[in-house]
C-alpha cells in the first residue's frame, strides 16, 4: 500500500504536528508549502523544516498541491491562518491534519467545517487523546468500571514559563508585543500561541483537556461559567489575556465537567505540569494522572529545568495517525474532527465571555447552514 503523500502547509509553530504525521509509515512528507507574501521569519522556519526532511519548500500553496500529488495537508501556521489554509486544502480534495487552536474566530471554524464536509475529506485536530493514561481511562469507563460517568474534573497545568513574571514591567517599559514574544519563544518550544492576535491559555491549550472531556463523557457542552485572570506572566497581563482559568461546564444529559488550566511556570512543578483527571460515575470514580506511566531520573549536575519524571510508552503520534488512516480507509470519523474542534472553540469562546461578564454563558451551536 502506497503511503499517503503529505504537504506541510506552513511549519511556523512547533514542528511536532508534521513530525507526528511522519512517525506513521503510511504517511510521507513530500513538500513544505506556504504563501509567497509571508514574512521572512515564516519562510525561514518553513525552509529549515524542509531541509531537515530533505524535501522542497515551495512558496506557493496551490502550485505545491498541484505538482506534488498530495492527499493530505498538515497545517501548522500562525493560529489566524489555520482555517484558511485548511479550507484551501479541503477544496483541493485533501484530507487535513491541523495544529491547535482551530482558529481565533468561530466564523472561520464554521467556514472550515463547511468546506471539509462539502468536500467529503477527513480532518483531524491534533490532540493528546491517545496518551496511555487517556487510553486507560477510556477503557475503564467503556468497561463499566465506574458505571455511567456523570462528572469529570480536569487539571491541565503546563509548567512552562512565558517571559518575565507579572508585575515585573517598569513604569517606563513598553507593553510586551505578543507576536514578537512568541517568535522569540520558539527556541524553547513555548510558542504555542504564535500568531498576531494574543491568545490566553484557554485558546492555546484548552483543546487538549476539552477533548479529554468530550471523549470520556460523550456529551456536548451546553453552558459554561468561568473565571479567568492573568496571574503569572507579564505578557498575558500586557495583552489582556488569561494565563489561569477555571471553567464549569454543564453538558447534555445532566453531566458536569470542570477544567482548571494555567501556564503555571517551571518552578511550580517538577515535570511538564500537573495534569490529572477525576471522573465520577454511578458506581465509583477514577483518578488518572495523564503523565503516567513514567520513569524517574535523578542525577548529579542535572539541569534544574530538566524533568525528573519522564513519560514512557508514548504512542500518541502513531495512534493519532493510525486513527486518521483508519478514518480515510473506512470513511469514518476521526477521534477529533473539525466539527468537534469547532464545538471546543465555541466552548472556549463562551468561557472567555463568561469570564468577562461573571455569569454563565450558553455555548454557540454550529449554524444550520453549515
Amino acid at each position: 500500500m502506497n503511503p499517503f503523500r503529505c504537504a506541510a502547509l506552513s511549519v511556523v509553530k512547533h514542528a511536532y504536528v508534521p513530525r507526528g504525521v511522519a512517525s506513521h509509515p503510511r504517511f510521507e512528507l513530500v513538500v513544505v508549502a506556504d504563501d509567497p507574501d509571508q514574512l521572512d521569519w515564516v519562510h525561514e522556519r518553513n525552509q529549515k523544516f524542509a531541509d531537515e526532511y530533505d524535501i522542497p519548500y515551495v512558496r506557493n500553496v496551490a502550485q505545491a498541491l498541484a505538482e506534488y500529488d498530495v492527499q493530505v495537508a498538515v497545517v501548522s501556521p500562525e493560529a489566524e491562518r489555520h482555517c484558511d489554509l485548511s479550507v484551501r486544502a479541503a477544496d483541493a480534495g485533501l484530507h487535513v491534519v491541523l495544529d491547535k487552536p482551530l482558529s481565533t474566530r468561530l466564523s472561520e471554524c464554521d467556514r472550515l467545517v463547511e468546506a471539509v464536509e462539502r468536500n467529503g475529506v477527513k480532518s483531524l485536530m491534533w490532540n493528546r487523546n491517545f496518551l496511555p493514561g487517556l487510553v486507560h481511562a477510556r477503557e475503564l469507563i467503556a468497561s463499566g468500571e465506574i458505571g455511567d460517568p456523570h462528572a469529570i474534573h480536569v487539571d491541565f497545568y503546563f509548567a512552562k514559563d512565558c517571559g518575565p513574571p507579572i508585575g515585573s514591567r517598569g513604569p517606563d517599559d513598553a507593553p510586551i508585543n505578543w507576536l514578537e514574544h512568541q517568535i522569540a519563544a520558539h527556541v524553547d518550544g513555548s510558542d504555542g500561541g504564535v500568531g498576531h492576535e494574543p491568545m490566553g491559555e484557554l485558546k492555546i491549550e484548552g483543546i487538549y483537556p476539552l477533548a479529554y472531556i468530550r471523549m470520556l463523557m460523550q456529551a456536548d457542552v451546553e453552558r459554561v461559567f468561568a473565571r479567568t485572570t492573568a496571574h503569572f506572566h507579564q505578557v498575558h497581563a500586557d495583552n489582556n489575556v488569561e494565563d489561569l482559568a477555571s471553567v464549569s461546564l454543564e453538558m447534555t444529559g445532566g453531566r458536569l465537567a470542570t477544567l482548571c488550566i494555567g501556564r503555571i511556570g517551571v518552578a511550580s512543578h517538577p515535570d511538564i505540569g500537573e495534569i490529572k483527571l477525576h471522573v465520577l460515575g454511578s458506581k465509583g470514580g477514577l483518578v488518572i494522572s495523564e503523565s503516567r506511566p513514567e520513569v524517574s531520573i535523578y542525577y548529579r549536575g542535572q539541569p534544574p529545568t530538566e524533568f525528573r519524571n519522564r513519560r514512557i510508552a508514548i504512542d500518541n503520534d502513531w495512534l493519532l495517525m493510525e486513527n486518521f488512516a483508519h478514518a480515510i480507509d473506512t470513511d469514518t470519523e476521526t477521534i477529533l474532527n473539525v466539527r468537534a474542534g469547532r464545538e471546543i472553540a465555541a466552548t472556549v469562546e463562551a468561557a472567555l465571555e463568561s469570564g468577562r461578564i461573571g455569569q454563565p454563558v450558553s455555548v454557540s451551536a454550529i449554524p444550520d447552514c453549515v
Binding site: S248, E274, L280, V287
Partner: protein, 317 residues
C-alpha cells in the same frame, strides 16, 4: 496550667486521648456527659479526674476546678455555653462545618464581657497537610495564591446534611488559604436525582482568585478521597490522596491504602486554643469565618436553584 473540660464523652474522645498528654500548658480536668459510665471511661482515657452529667452541673458544683471548655458547637444549648462564658470560662467551640453565626456572635460578646475567650475550632485547618500548605503560602513560597481546587469524594453516610453543608469545611479551607472571601458563587449538580450529593461549587474572589470544589457522595462503601491543590503565582502545592497511597498485593489488582497518622489536627487545634489564652492573642478562627461560610452555603443553594452566579455578600445568612 490551664484545666480543660471536655463536653461530650463520645465526641472524638479517642482522638483527644491520643494527644491529651502532648498539650503544652494544659491538661484535661473533667469530662461531661449525661451517660456517667461513658464520662468515666472518657475521663480515664484523656487523663481527667472529674466527671459531671453536663455543663450545668460542672458549673454548679465544680466551677473552680476548670478554666476552659472544649466542645462541639451543638453539644449543649447556646445558653449553657453562655453561662460558662459568664463564669469566665474560655470556650473552644469546634465547628467543622457551619453553625448559627448569630448565636455564636452573641456568645463571643458574652465571653468578651467577662474576660473569657471564645475560639471557633476549625479542626480541618490543623490537618498536617493543610498546615504544611498554609505555611508554604505564609512563607511566600507560592507567591500570590490564585486558584484552589478541592475534590472530596465519599461514601454517603449521612444524608441529613445538605451537600453544601458537607462542603462547608472545605469552603472554610479555601477562604483561609486564599485569605479572602468570594464575591461570586456558582454551583451545579450532576448525576441522578436520587444521588444525595454530587455538587460542583465554583468561587470567584476579588482580584481574580478562584476556587473549584466538587463533592461526591456516590463512592461505593470504603475509603474516601480528598485532594486539595493551590496554584500560586510562583509555585504550587498539592495535597492529594492519590499521591499518598501504598500498595497492598493480595492477588489480582493491588489494593491501595493511605498511611494514617496520629490525630495531630486535634493537638494543633487544642494547642492553638491554649496558646491564645496564655498569650492573650486572637486566633484566625473567628466567628466571622462562620458568618462568611454560612453566606456562601446559602449562595450555593441559591445558585443551584437559579442557575446563575450569586454574590454571597448579597445574601442574608
Amino acid at each position: 496550667m490551664i484545666r480543660l473540660a471536655l463536653i461530650g464523652a463520645d465526641w472524638n474522645s479517642r482522638e483527644f486521648a491520643a494527644v491529651a498528654r502532648r498539650i503544652r500548658g494544659a491538661n484535661f480536668r473533667a469530662v461531661c456527659d449525661p451517660n456517667r459510665e461513658q464520662a468515666a471511661s472518657a475521663a480515664t482515657a484523656i487523663g481527667a479526674e472529674l466527671t459531671a452529667s453536663g455543663l450545668t452541673e460542672l458549673l454548679d458544683s465544680l466551677r473552680d476546678e476548670f478554666d476552659a471548655v472544649v466542645a462541639p458547637w451543638d453539644a449543649v444549648g447556646i445558653e449553657d455555653f453562655a453561662a460558662a462564658a459568664r463564669a469566665g470560662k474560655h470556650i473552644l467551640l469546634e465547628v467543622a462545618g457551619t453553625a448559627d453565626s448569630v448565636a455564636t456572635d452573641e456568645l463571643a460578646a458574652t465571653a468578651g464581657d467577662s474576660g473569657a475567650r471564645l475560639v471557633i475550632g476549625r479542626p480541618h485547618r490543623f490537618l498536617p497537610s493543610m498546615q504544611t500548605l498554609r505555611n508554604s503560602i505564609v512563607a511566600g513560597q507560592l507567591g500570590r495564591p490564585g486558584l484552589v481546587r478541592v475534590h472530596r469524594w465519599r461514601h454517603a453516610e449521612d444524608a441529613s446534611s445538605t451537600p453544601a453543608a458537607v462542603l462547608a469545611p472545605d469552603i472554610d479551607l479555601v477562604c483561609w488559604l486564599l485569605d479572602a472571601i468570594p464575591d461570586v458563587v456558582f454551583a451545579a449538580r450532576s448525576g441522578n436525582a436520587e444521588s444525595s450529593g454530587n455538587l460542583l461549587v465554583h468561587l470567584g474572589f476579588p482580584g481574580g482568585g478562584m476556587a473549584m470544589l466538587d463533592l461526591s457522595d456516590d463512592l461505593p462503601e470504603g475509603d474516601n478521597y480528598f485532594s486539595l491543590s493551590v496554584i500560586g503565582s510562583s509555585g504550587s502545592a498539592i495535597a492529594d490522596d492519590h499521591h499518598n497511597q501504598q500498595l497492598i498485593f493480595g492477588g489480582g489488582h493491588p489494593a491501595a491504602a493511605r498511611t494514617d497518622h496520629a490525630p495531630l489536627h486535634r493537638l494543633g487545634m487544642l494547642q492553638d486554643f491554649v496558646d491564645s489564652i496564655v498569650d492573650q492573642r486572637d486566633t484566625s478562627n473567628s466567628v466571622e469565618s462562620l458568618r462568611n461560610c454560612e453566606r456562601i452555603v446559602v449562595a450555593i443553594q441559591n445558585s443551584r436553584e437559579s442557575g446563575q452566579a450569586i454574590d454571597p455578600g448579597g445574601v442574608s445568612s
